[in-house]
């Protein structure tokens, strides 16, 4: 039985016909929509490489059945930059060497975007480390990642202050 769901992906809404309810959000993005930025690391919710935002919240795309997300807004790494202009979190990861091999990086960046939006960690390194513990980096770029999150949060907060002023 085909299940048709409506998803907005990176701001573009559309209907998607699923011929099989087993398809996870991650497999839908990667295998059917060609959005291979979200990575399949463990496929068990343990590594965070598949992290995307669903309705503004970071989740593991590998554990979500796409059919259940009917009506949701999905944001992936592909939709983060504004044309050629990188998102402040992307720029901060480059500036602070928040990566080595890069495989976990899309998940790290989407997780960082979610963490900053949640507003719980502030500028405390320990809260950022704890809040990013769902993203494993086997190269061990954690120090640079925390620096990048701190820096990106400051830049985003300043930008918001300017918008309000």
């Amino acid at each position: 039985m085909t299940h048709t769901i409506r998803l907005s992906i990176n701001g573009t809404p559309g209907d998607i016909a699923l011929d099989d309810p087993r398809v996870t959000l991650l497999d839908l993005l990667r295998e059917r929509l060609g959005l291979t930025g979200s990575k399949k690391g463990c496929d068990r919710g343990q590594c965070g490489a598949c992290t995307v935002l669903v309705d503004g919240r970071r989740i593991n795309a590998c554990l979500a059945l796409a059919v259940s997300l009917d009506g949701a807004e999905v944001a992936t790494i592909e939709g983060l930059a504004d044309g050629d202009r990188l998102h402040p979190v992307q720029e901060a990861f480059i500036a602070h060497d928040g990566m080595q091999c890069g495989f976990c990086t899309p998940g790290q960046i989407m997780s960082a975007v979610g963490l900053i939006a949640e507003g719980q960690a502030g500028d405390e390194r320990e809260r950022i480390r704890e809040g990013m513990s769902g993203n494993i980096c086997r190269c061990g770029a954690y120090a640079g990642i925390v620096d990048a999150v701190l820096d990106a949060r400051r830049i985003l907060a300043e930008a918001e202050r300017k918008v309000r002023a």
């Binding site: 039985m1 299940h3 309810p21 087993r22 989740i59 554990l63 979500a64 059945l65 513990s133 769902g134």
Partner: protein, 351 residues
């Protein structure tokens, strides 16, 4: 993953009707179920998606000072609900000590009760497992049982329940609301999960088609808010299941404990309420000697299920330390490392 049918009912009545079909399983966020389906440890024929049902995702304060938590409330939303976290801080700390931020954003409170054991033999469909396939045997007996039960286990099964959330909840007399083919009813959380005995495949008291719709905490639970902590010993600081954990919640008046609640996690097939330890603390001074006696009482019936005897002493120490932290006072905010043995005690400014 096996093939399955998928339905998305519009009402609770439709959901319960579908959930009573043979081979049906309710789907919430799927953070546990989808994982088990990928390995083949779970093979439902029908998934009944309850995430779109109306009315199951509210956090409602009750007139007695308690709270009703809809089964589809996400763990992160409950932990960060300011009023809830103020009234029931040990529950918020336990929530934030569990899993990762991504999983907490998805996982539901009802699903947390329904999560399956992390016993590696249960998780591996190539292994025998009395819980997954009744009568097939228990390779954890004499196998890799480092993280297994020290209380309430049987010859048939030595698995533990992995929830953090359920530990302070069972200490605070939480009640589970259930809807099902036989109608609505409720049961104390302490009676919801079953010890394995000879029927480890019966993990909860739910009958076929029964659906957890909400949890309730009574107003009396909020009276512990000034001295309420959760402490979780795990093999890495974050994003790991408890080796042992404890919720300790006290009421202290004029230097004397007037009421105590203690529960343990990671020690049994259910969140373990330690009533004998609570009785030890009645009218005692909130100090180390009483905490040590309480810890001994909490683990008095503990025994190793295999190579896990070390967990008994660890559990005693975790109970003692959780009580000491609770006596020092609930921090104004959940610490940066929630429930961590590495976190400083924090500033006891909570009222």
């Amino acid at each position: 993953m096996n093939r399955f049918d998928y339905v998305r009912p519009a009402t609770l009545a439709e959901a319960v009707a579908a959930g009573a079909e043979p081979g049906a399983a309710y789907l919430a966020a799927g953070t546990n179920l989808v994982d088990l389906m990928k390995t083949g440890a779970a093979r439902p024929d029908l998934l009944v998606d309850i995430t779109h049902l109306p009315g199951l995702a509210a956090i409602d304060p009750l007139p007695d000072g308690g709270v009703r938590i809809g089964a589809m409330v996400r763990n992160a939303d409950l932990a960060h609900d300011a009023h809830f976290a103020h009234q029931f801080p040990a529950v918020a700390e336990a929530l934030l000590a569990g899993a990762s931020a991504q999983l907490r954003n998805a996982a539901t409170v009802g699903g947390n009760l329904m999560q399956r054991t992390r016993c590696r033999y249960f998780q591996d469909p190539a292994s025998a497992c009395n819980r997954r396939e009744p009568g097939s045997g228990c390779p954890a007996h004499g196998g890799e049982a480092r993280s297994h039960a020290i209380l309430g286990f049987s010859d048939a099964c030595i698995a533990t329940h992995a929830s953090d959330l359920c530990v302070p909840l069972v200490g605070l007399d939480a009640v589970v609301e259930i809807d099902g083919p036989a109608g609505r009813r409720e049961v104390p959380l302490d009676a919801f999960h079953l010890l394995p005995g000879d029927t480890p495949e019966r993990e909860t008291m739910l009958a076929r088609g029964d659906l957890v719709t909400a949890l309730r905490l009574p107003g009396t639970a909020a009276a512990f808010r000034a001295h309420a902590r959760y402490l979780k010993l795990r093999e890495r600081t974050s994003f790991a299941f408890a080796l042992v954990s404890a919720a300790a919640m006290l009421q202290i008046e004029d230097g004397t404990i007037t009421a105590a609640r203690i529960a343990l996690g990671g020690v049994a097939a259910k969140p373990w309420r330690a009533r004998a330890a609570e009785a030890v603390l009645a009218d005692a001074a909130p100090e180390a000697p009483a905490f040590a006696r309480a810890a001994e009482a909490a683990l008095a019936d503990a025994r190793p299920a295999g190579g896990n005897g070390f967990k008994i002493d660890l559990a005693k120490r975790v109970v003692e330390r959780a009580l000491a932290l609770a006596a020092a006072g609930t921090p104004a905010r959940v610490p940066a490392l929630p429930a961590s043995v590495f976190a400083p005690a924090g500033d006891p400014a909570h009222a």
